[in-house]
Amino acid sequence: MKSNRLIRKILLGAIVPVVILLVWHFASIGSVVVPSISSVVEVLAHPFSEPEGLDSTPLAFGAAVSILRVLCGFILAALSGVLIGLFIGRCKLAMETLSPVMSAAMAVSPIAWIPVTIIVFGLSSPATAIYGDRAWEHGLLDQLRFAIVAVIWMGAFFPIALNTAAGAAGVRAGHLETAKVLGATRRQILTKIVLPSAAPAILTGLRIGAGIAWRVIIAAEIFPGTRGGLGYMIATAHETASYEYAFAGIIVIAAIGLSLDGLLRMALVRVSRWQPRER
């Protein structure tokens, strides 16, 4: 019974990918734009080899740069977003003054900020800050351009802060009072009541923020004037008509995005364990 269901699940899940592969295969025959499946597999199979005829880095390096940028921006956004979100959620005045602005800011695609962040941060990176002129010798650190990290922060901060604020504002009065009559300090109320109560909302915010960050990084890297990362690789692949690199990049982007979301979803399930589930 159980194995039957598993087979069914696998078969159903496989339908769409198989159809896509078939369509892809036939579309690639005699096409200049659509690369053959085998050429893309070839790229994916050698993630460390320098792409030929392409002003770009190996696939694995591009992925590492993109991941590093997203992680830095996302961690900064998570820390600042949760802190500010908690403050907004627990302080009515802050909620009323800040939340309309933040909702408006969230409606703006973070990509729109790229020109601004490039003007503000230029080509500076942790490497230029530490090593100055010799920054280019420190590849990965130099790729961690502040301009790009700032854009990621822009994309992830608002959903994290707003979700955290909603979670913190929605803590039941009865729960707060329970702790108060037991003599809890403000700090204990925060750690023992507000945080655990808002945890599912916070993690939902983190999940949305991470999703946005990952979409934004690719777009930011495609934006003219930036270098490195998967987005840059895809952009240059298009310019030089090396479409197998573009396709391989898209597949890697999907895989990383899926894993990132999977991790956060697991964390969300963990902190929401106490919520009675209706399925």
């Binding site: 009072e177 329970t178 702790a179 108060k180 009559v181 003599g183 023992k192 919520q275 009675p276």
Partner: protein
Amino acid sequence: MEPKRQVIRFENAGKCFSTPARPEVWAVRDFNLTCLEGELTCVLGPSGCGKTTLLRLAAGLEMPTMGKVCVNGSAVTNPPENIGVVSQEGDLLPWRRVLGNVALGLEIRGLDRQERTERAKKAINRVGLPSEVVQSFPHELSGGMRRRVALARAVCTNPRILLMDEPFSSLDELTRHRLQAELLQLWLSDRQTVLFVTHSLEEAVFLADRILVMTFGRTVAEFRLDLDRPRDRLGDEFIKVLLEVRRALTEHENAAADVS
């Protein structure tokens, strides 16, 4: 015998709420009550008469708009130290298991884990909960069990004052009787000062040293009960007192209804 200490004292206390829909609602007014140490006082009244507000005043969760509320001799401005509260909804923390809920007060006091667990388990035992539920989440329990957990949490820190807001309402009669008996047992051994709010006539007569009948925010009658415990709910004396209290309650309800 030296006179007993005054533990909870309402002096002409009143609480007025104002909302856009109802600009002036006196939930409690001109309220006078003195609970002596070790006394079990029941406040009996119909829904909406201000019972919850009364308890919240004593718990320091609401400030009086008139008069004064004192606990242990000083005016209440914050929740007083060493009180146990069982609210009407129970208010268990849904993200904590039973053990974590019961141990909350001890955790806030900074006790180490081992002692917390030990004492919480003892409290869980005392309120008649089976020990296999300690690792359950509140939503996995029945209503009666949740009430017991709330009671265990309130007594776990050994408070000298217990404020209880209809802790056994919406339970079936049998379970309610069992919980009442368990509360009595706890109280007989620890002798906390208990302020117990209820809308159940029978519950009040079964538990109380003293019953205050409350309607529309005011005390309208007071009864002292010196029936032996445990009380026989079918005994002549019990029923006599019950009818007496009931008469006071309905009389004033009707009188108030006539006025309004």
